[in-house]
């Protein structure tokens, strides 16, 4: 069953202005992991805004879980390239932020604070941040901040996780570590993921389906399923089949750039 559906969606930020994306149709199954790749300025982030209801399409329809998206959706987790942690809160308090907003946690916060705190601690421990709960974000390294940011996006058990180049600002080693972390989290307790990225290896490593977008106005050029077995390991990224997947995508991107 389709969880997220786009039907010929176009969006212009200004009336009569240039289209940011044009005629996008796609559908994401429940608990599917999709990646959207493309050159910068191809409207990848617009796609995310449409799904979460932060923008409205100029034409076409967006459906989430069978209902048409209108207005900001609840229960979506989001993480961006910058961790956007609140510097006046400790790591633990940052992760607990969604619980103070999303129902039903919000109304249970007062009585169940201890339980929720344990939930957050467990999740932080799960991503390797045990012992860092009471530190402030600026005391954490970039990779750790990003882990915490992903924890914040997942703590309220959203059905949809949206990641906008979440590993873009990290060094190569940390980035690959976090790929594995994300894959593990997803396999343990599945949720639907939309990952926007520049990195083709990242897309192939993590996603079930990769969409390649063209430069503005953004259109979907290719949809490609990655049928590598899971769990994928970093070792797999050096195999022939992995390389050929990346290569195919690379060729598509190359074709766009020649225009």
């Amino acid at each position: 069953m389709a969880f997220v559906t786009f039907e010929q969606v176009s969006l212009a930020y200004e009336e009569g202005g240039p289209l940011a994306i044009r005629d996008i149709s796609l559908s994401v199954k429940k608990n599917e992991f999709i990646a959207v790749v493309g050159p910068s300025g191809c409207g990848k982030s617009t796609l995310m805004k449409l799904v979460s209801g932060l923008s409205e399409p100029t034409s076409g329809y967006v459906y989430l879980d069978g209902r048409q998206v209108s207005g900001p959706q609840k229960c979506i987790g989001m993480a961006f390239q910058a961790s956007n942690l609140l510097p006046w809160r400790t790591t633990l308090q940052n992760v607990m932020l969604p619980l103070e907003i999303v129902q039903p946690y919000r109304s249970q916060m007062r009585r169940q604070r201890k339980v929720f705190e344990e939930m957050a601690r467990a999740l932080l421990a799960r991503v390797g941040l045990a012992g860092w709960e009471d530190k402030y974000p600026w005391e954490l390294s970039g990779g750790m901040q990003q882990r915490a940011s992903i924890c914040r996006a997942l703590i309220h058990k959203p059905e949809l996780l949206m990641l906008d180049e979440p590993f873009g600002a990290l060094d190569a080693f940390t980035r690959e570590e976090l790929w594995c972390m994300l894959q593990d989290l997803w396999q343990e307790q599945p949720f639907t993921v939309v990952l926007v990225t520049h990195d083709l290896r990242e897309a192939v490593f993590l996603a079930d389906t990769v969409y390649v977008m063209s430069k503005g106005p953004g259109e979907i050029l290719v949809r490609r399923e990655v049928d590598l077995p899971r769990p994928r390991t970093l070792e797999d990224t050096y195999t022939e089949s992995f390389a050929s997947q990346v290569h195919v995508l690379r060729d598509h991107i190359g074709a766009i750039r020649q225009h």
Binding site: S52, P72, Q73, C75, I76, G77, F80, W88, Y136, A153
Partner: protein
């Protein structure tokens, strides 16, 4: 050793500079035999201050009280308007040019108007202190709210947070350092406002005391009054600087190590 001396110098620099200036002042007055009714030496100011401590204290208390009340109103009005201006673009567009225009009017020009409306005394002094000091609070609170990162707002909105939620959880805490910084500016301005009003239209307060003293050529007392205002200003400034450090430590991380 050398390092310790340097540290000592930095910590006590302001006291030492003040001491040097006082000595220089004293030396100038004594050396050039400046008459006391023109420019009294620090020693003369000191003895005037000690001899007349009771009236000085009474007037200082009046000025202090007036300033704090005006400042208090300024903080409340500044925060409320600042939140409105920083949150709603419509309010910003409508109100801001008006406020900037109002702020460019010298507040001394208002005092006669206030006197006509409220008579001389405490009320115009409080209002002048308020009028002169609410603007920096407003601008800083509004700036703190308006510079919220759009991604952070997206994160909050995608959780279903209301405008009030975003303001409470993110906007206001984030604007806190701006707010405290503005308090330091506003309190010194509030002193300017109340003293101006007292010099023009009051029979109470340090401003009035100085006015009366200067008309009887008692320059030592005028200077004593000036110094009392300065001391009150510094004390209040330091109080808010301390509060700023205490409550928004996260925003000033590492600045201590940079300063020393």
């Amino acid at each position: 050793m050398a390092f310790n001396r340097r540290k000592f110098m930095i910590r006590n620099a302001s006291w030492m500079l003040m001491l040097v200036l006082l000595l220089l002042w004293e030396a100038l007055c004594v050396g050039l035999q400046v008459p006391e009714y023109l420019f009294p030496a620090p020693s003369a100011v000191w003895s005037a201050g000690v001899a007349r401590w009771e009236p000085i204290l009474m007037h200082a208390w009046q000025t202090f009280f007036t300033t704090l009340v005006g400042f208090g109103i300024a903080v409340v009005v500044g925060v409320v308007l600042g939140v409105a201006v920083g949150t709603y673009p419509l309010v910003y567009k409508a109100l801001y040019p008006l406020l900037v225009g109002f702020n460019s009017i010298p507040k001394v020009a208002f005092v006669p108007v206030l006197v006509v409306w409220f008579g001389i005394g405490t009320v115009p002094a409080i209002l002048t202190a308020f009028l002169i000091s609410f603007f920096p609070v407003l601008v800083n609170v509004a700036t703190g709210l308006a510079t919220l990162e759009p991604e952070l707002e997206d994160v909050m909105r995608s959780l279903g947070a209301s405008k009030l939620d975003i303001l409470r959880k993110v906007g206001l805490p984030r604007a806190l350092p701006y707010f405290f910084a503005s308090l330091k500016v506003a309190i010194t301005l509030a002193f300017v406002g109340s003293v101006i009003s007292e010099t023009v239209a009051s029979n109470m307060g340090i401003g009035y005391l100085m006015m009366a003293a200067s008309s009887s050529m008692d320059m030592a007392l005028v200077f004593a009054g000036l110094i009392v205002i300065g001391v009150m200003g510094v004390v209040m400034y330091e109080l808010f600087a301390w509060m700023e450090k205490r409550f928004t430590r996260w925003a000033n991380r590492g600045s201590n190590s940079a300063a020393i």
